[in-house]
Symmetry: C2
Subunit: 339 residues, 2 copies
DNA sequence: ACCCGTTGCGTTATCGATAACACAATACCG
DNA sequence: CGGTATTGTGTTATCGATAACGCAACGGGT
């Protein structure tokens, strides 16, 4: 099936068919309908090679929107690694990647960035809309014109090409199980709820509680912690936690796990409280190696970013049909399988 | 950098450059050297789109060589899933995938299959050379002419484009750690050595022992098991094992884990002996769900096959430069993160 | 000297999609 | 009614690599 086939079936020339395909106008509505019908029926897919050859010289530009790299204990650096890998692969397809950062704790900053995306300079967006409410209102007020995909979290009511990310509830369950294994049946465990609240965090906490609800031997306590907290504040939370009763295990629901491991090392010695946490950022890696953190649950951010950006580009450039949702597997990392 | 640039720099026509690039002969040795020199210096990479467009109509065919799907507890079906996904992606690039199977326990069968690969019908091979000695002798006697890559295991002395697979020793260590967590410090654990011996199995056993060598509280026993054993034989091994002394945990070093879980359920009831094993085949999935198997280590066969085949094709079709080795991460699967 | 085979190299149609351009046929306006 | 926009459509050069074809130059055999 080629353009020429379509044209001859429709009794017109390839120029007109091309105009239909690219919405370049100047086509009679009747002709347009007919051509679209034939394309639909024949399952025409176009030839990527011819298309890209004809387009050579033209470069495509995609824009990644995400929090500053050093926020969330540099979790976003892991994402960046995946983006870099994807960008490298995509260079030969004439694709450039631009990254724009916002302050993860400032809805205002996100809005400023969002409404600066005019859609003219870019062929698509790959976005981590971690500030749920700001993102939701932005997309409601004025959705992006160009195709966009979400990673890390979703924005309800929007229509992205796809979403790629984790299953947070299951992650919490998994964290519960690992902590249970570490501390045994009769135990006191603590889970942190990070503030400001985000869906991920809440789902992780819920999953964790859900696991222990079926195991009445264990007692679960919960503490609020500000995400922006430094080592000092984390230490004071840990102190309160230890003063609040027995603590056998701690589940930290985001990448700041290393701060708690460090604080607990100082307050009651390494290994006293078993720690399970999130994300393989380099600080956590260190504490995994010295076993102050027993397990870390990883949502494979490198793969998530690489695969996601790749998919988005292939969708736009090669018109590949995609799934609506890609759930990345939960990786369970411990000293013995540190990559 | 285009063919035309190369040609003008060399003071000849594009036809001659193309003849050099594709070894089509009819080129003076002096000219050939000069062209190759310029290509080298300029880092010319060719234009995939133009190349594939010109080649359209021509289809590429790759051949996958691996054991019968139902061997190793249908482990190879997981591989096949990945292959199918890759084949689907690659169709639009004019790539066909043919799969040939051999008997995993018959060197003769492998040799027959290997020497039937004449290289004329195929553009490349993607192979799981699980019968180490047969594969090694085959490659020594007459290496494949077309590019080939290995998955699952390597053949020493051969020169594949790349190898994609797991780190078995680390897998054994990880298995040791998980079992340790499950059974505690003072315990008797058993590891199975599957026969006929293969590198993977031996490395897994070594990794497992290495983990417990640093933890003198635990006593490790080892039992040989024929890979071809059915449920009956596995049950008799388990009986011997239980009669041989206390058993708190069992590490099964291949996909047959479910057979042991089943046998132990019958012999001493579920949950009495903690089981850690390998591979997320459907039978193991069942026992993970009912918690007769606590953990399964997965080498992500679907991803391994998909990524590997994709890489090989891209190497051949688009002349992409590749790494020599791709180590796939070890996935730790338990009830709570079953995909 | 003639013919044929080989070697070395240049020329060009082809692959399929793209978009600029050309050119009718209407539509619209004063 | 003349003249300028606008609309609908066809034609064609272009992207870069491929490989068939053409042709000259030379070598060796009779």
């Amino acid at each position: 099936m080629t353009l020429r086939d379509i044209a001859s079936r429709a009794g017109i020339s390839i120029g007109t068919v091309d105009r239909v395909l690219h919405n370049r106008g100047r086509v009679a509505e009747k002709t347009r309908k007919r051509v679209l019908g034939i394309i639909e029926k024949s399952g025409y897919q176009g030839n990527i090679f011819a298309s890209n050859l004809a387009n050579s010289g033209k470069r495509h530009k995609f824009c990644v929107v995400m929090p500053h790299l050093d926020q969330d204990s540099s979790y976003w650096r892991l994402i960046e690694d995946g983006l870099k890998a994807a960008a490298f692969d995509l260079k030969r397809y004439g694709v450039d990647i631009e990254t724009r950062f916002f302050d993860r704790y400032s809805g205002v900053d996100f809005r400023r960035l969002y409404f600066g995306l005019d859609g003219r300079g870019h062929d698509g967006y790959f976005m981590a809309p971690v500030i749920s409410d700001a993102a939701e209102s932005c997309f409601r007020e004025r959705p992006l014109i160009k195709p966009y995909a979400f990673f890390d979290c979703h924005v309800p009511g929007s229509a992205p090409v796809f979403y790629i990310g984790q299953d947070s509830f299951q992650g919490g369950m998994l964290g519960g199980k690992m902590l249970h294994l570490l501390v045994g049946d009769d135990a006191d465990v603590v889970v942190t709820r990070m503030l400001p609240e985000g869906w991920h965090i809440n789902d992780r906490v819920s999953g964790f509680r859900a696991y222990f609800e079926e195991r009445p031997g264990a007692r679960v306590r919960e503490y609020d912690v500000d995400c922006r907290a430094g080592v000092k504040e984390v230490e004071s939370v840990c102190r309160r936690m230890l003063e609040g009763g027995r603590v056998d295990g701690l589940f930290v629901t985001n990448a700041n796990t290393h701060m708690f491991a460090y604080a607990l090392e100082r307050l009651c010695g390494a290994g006293k409280v078993k720690v399970v946490g999130y994300d393989l950022v380099s600080a956590n890696r260190f504490f995994l190696e010295n076993e102050s953190i027993s397990f870390v649950i990883s949502q494979n951010p490198v793969m998530q970013a690489q695969k996601g950006l790749n998919l988005l580009c292939r969708h736009v450039l090669m018109r590949e049909e995609l799934e609506l949702e890609y759930v990345v597997p939960l990786d369970l990392i411990t000293k013995e399988n540190l990559p």
